[in-house]
Symmetry: C4
Subunit: 241 residues, 4 copies
């Protein structure tokens, strides 16, 4: 396989894993950028079934959002992906998800702070994008890029999240950990005050290499599950994602 | 197929999608009105399995609740449907559901206000019907019609919801979004104060055409899932719907 | 089939429906009493898989707990069943369940009051049995009988529930409604004060005949689902029941 | 089969049961110690699919963490297991899990106290290990051993739990009960103050023999479910475990 076809396969797998985990379905999309060709590969938008997505359902656009193959339109929020890919060499993969729990932090008036050890991945914080609109223009995308800075993720008010990685493994891991940490914060809050990890504790918890290794192991784990997944919609599933 | 048989098929599909999503099961029913023939098509009541519903399980009644074919009785709350169909030309489809989360807003003493961007669909609010009874008479139905006014949905105290649309796609989308927004409000409330979207923000978020397009894309998405659904009851499902 | 074999089949079905709904599994048992023969049929205790239960897994005991067939011991809490069957002619069916949500009312310091219209079934209240023990003796069973009085159900502190009916249909319906009402109360409480239904509203909501009809329709509904259930354990299910 | 092969089979089954119950997946591992051979059998770490684990996926290490067969590395937190096995003759089985609900107690600032009758198993309390690190060294393991003392379990701050037993049946039961009790506490807290069981009530509730018998019955129950489990990942499952 060429590099490109490998990347398309991986992106389709990543999309199906997110679908399996309930983080992407009606809404949400994932992209991977190939700086050599200038090509952005991106999963399709709202009407498409993500659990059964194949490599040839992946769309290719350039950094201006122009479709590179045929007439199929990318998701309306393509500027989330292109502006981040253009701005950061460590954002070769970008996930935009309506994650059921992480989105709640973007609804409750609370700053994100990690409550789990793995949440230390977000030692630098997760800023909140407050505009009451989809990110449909390059100008909006650039404001989001500026807000995120060098961080791994942002919350979109009443909407969802954006997470980035140097590869799809890292973007998957960051998204899963953000969802898990915010879920636990939300559920534990019923019992009383939360115990957060300080920035110092977060930094002491793991090196960049540790995170990278964990992201790749997590990919292996979820790819095994996805390979044997029966692709059934979760009956009575609940949250739209 | 005739228009009528197309509508029956669509109504059966819509009922099965609601069943798959855990919004309709033991309780709840959906209707579609054909103004040309004066015929109201409606899904059956309490005893019937909704996950396996076929077009020929759909009942036909007139606007007075009289069965138009054979002796089968419509659901006891048929006046919800007939009064809305009669009163509003933009309510050709009506869903009455015991949605697990939306019903909670009708239990907690709080006015509905959207916390998600998609919840902007309900910029006009979602009024609460407070009578401690099923809606079994035309008089009750008319009070509900008056309460809803031009709005897209109402909450029924300790009971469920009613959502309307110009077609089944719109009624499905409105019901799913209302459930998702109220779920997120309920879950985020554990963490602190909620951040609502103002009426102005809601109106600026999308045009009527945007909503219509989204509703039709969402229908396509869920129809694909429903077509490959194994129809298993969700083991340990929990909330009665 | 004889009356007895019909009753055994129905009891096995009822146990499997409870298992499907996540209300009975490791813990919990259901019984039906035949006053003519003095025989109590009861589902087996802790070690047995309830999702696959057959009529010939049902045990028969007399009102003193003595096994009527072979050496198989009934569940250790058999006095819950025998004392209720002996004391009340309207308690021919008795369910003891570790219902995930109803049990929470027996943990939080709050009196049960219905928040849903269907919860009006419990207009007479649901008293709390406070002893910190399993109900393993006739004396305990009799204290529980006295506590329940003429009511349809009781909560067992930090433990579970007991619900009764004139037949298994009624005991199933009462258990499902109690679980659903308490679940909704618990979830809605996150948003603020709850809106309860008054005793008067509850009594006005339905007649005894209405309840009976609903119970039988609900049985039909769930029996259809159970008949096509694949009997899979709910992966990641969570609450022990 | 030899004792060793029986133990490996049992450990694989125990791991799969935890996976089925949503308590072990990406994270978590279980071990069993054979004091005669000095061999610690342990399930593998992060990258491996636990739902399909076989006896020959089990690793063998000695009490210093050295692999006894081939080059495969044990999970990085092996000191949790070896230090407990070495220190306590009643800790022949050790589970380390990222249990979704029990972990919440280790996030909310609250001391664990049981709210369910079965939670009386933890009459001695469940102490909290507060270090913001994985337990990767023998020194950390020994601090954890000291903290636990003679107790059955500990909470690891923002991380997970450790539970011990004289055999895998007991470690499984303790883990399931801890998860269930903490889940119920968390969910009931939404409704108001919790009603805990006092230490005296806990001790009066059951003898050591009662607990042992229950643990073995619970194992039988879950082993039956696991044997017919289709091993599907729980679509939209949510919490990472």
């Amino acid at each position: 396989m060429t590099d490109e076809s490998v990347l398309r396969e991986k992106l389709a797998t990543c999309t199906r894993i997110f679908s399996m985990q309930g983080l992407l379905g009606l809404f949400g999309h994932v992209s991977a950028y190939d700086p050599k060709s200038g090509c952005v590969f991106i999963s399709p938008g709202m009407g498409k079934d993500k659990a059964t997505l194949k490599a040839n359902d992946i769309l290719a656009i350039d950094l201006t959002g122009r479709p590179l193959e045929g007439p199929a339109e990318p998701p309306v929020e393509w500027p989330i992906h292109t502006t981040l890919h253009a701005a950061r060499s460590d954002a070769l993969a970008v996930a935009h998800l309506h994650s059921p729990y992480a989105t709640l932090y973007a609804i409750a008036r609370r700053e994100f702070r990690p409550v789990t050890l793995q949440g230390a991945l977000f030692a630098d914080g997760v800023p909140l994008y407050t505009e009451a609109q989809l990110v449909k223009t390059v100008a909006q995308g650039e404001r989001l890029v500026k807000l995120i800075g060098h961080r791994r993720a942002a919350l979109l008010r009443g909407h969802g999240i954006v997470a980035v990685g140097r590869d799809l493994e890292e973007a998957l891991f960051a998204s899963l950990i953000l969802e898990d940490d915010t879920r636990k914060a939300m559920q534990a809050a019923a019992l009383g005050e939360l115990e957060f990890f300080s920035e110092g504790e977060c930094r002491a918890f793991a090196t960049e290499d540790d995170w990278r290794r964990r992201a790749h192991r997590a990919w292996n784990y979820f790819a095994q599950l996805e390979a044997r997944w029966d692709r059934q919609p979760a009956t009575g599933a609940g949250p739209l994602a």
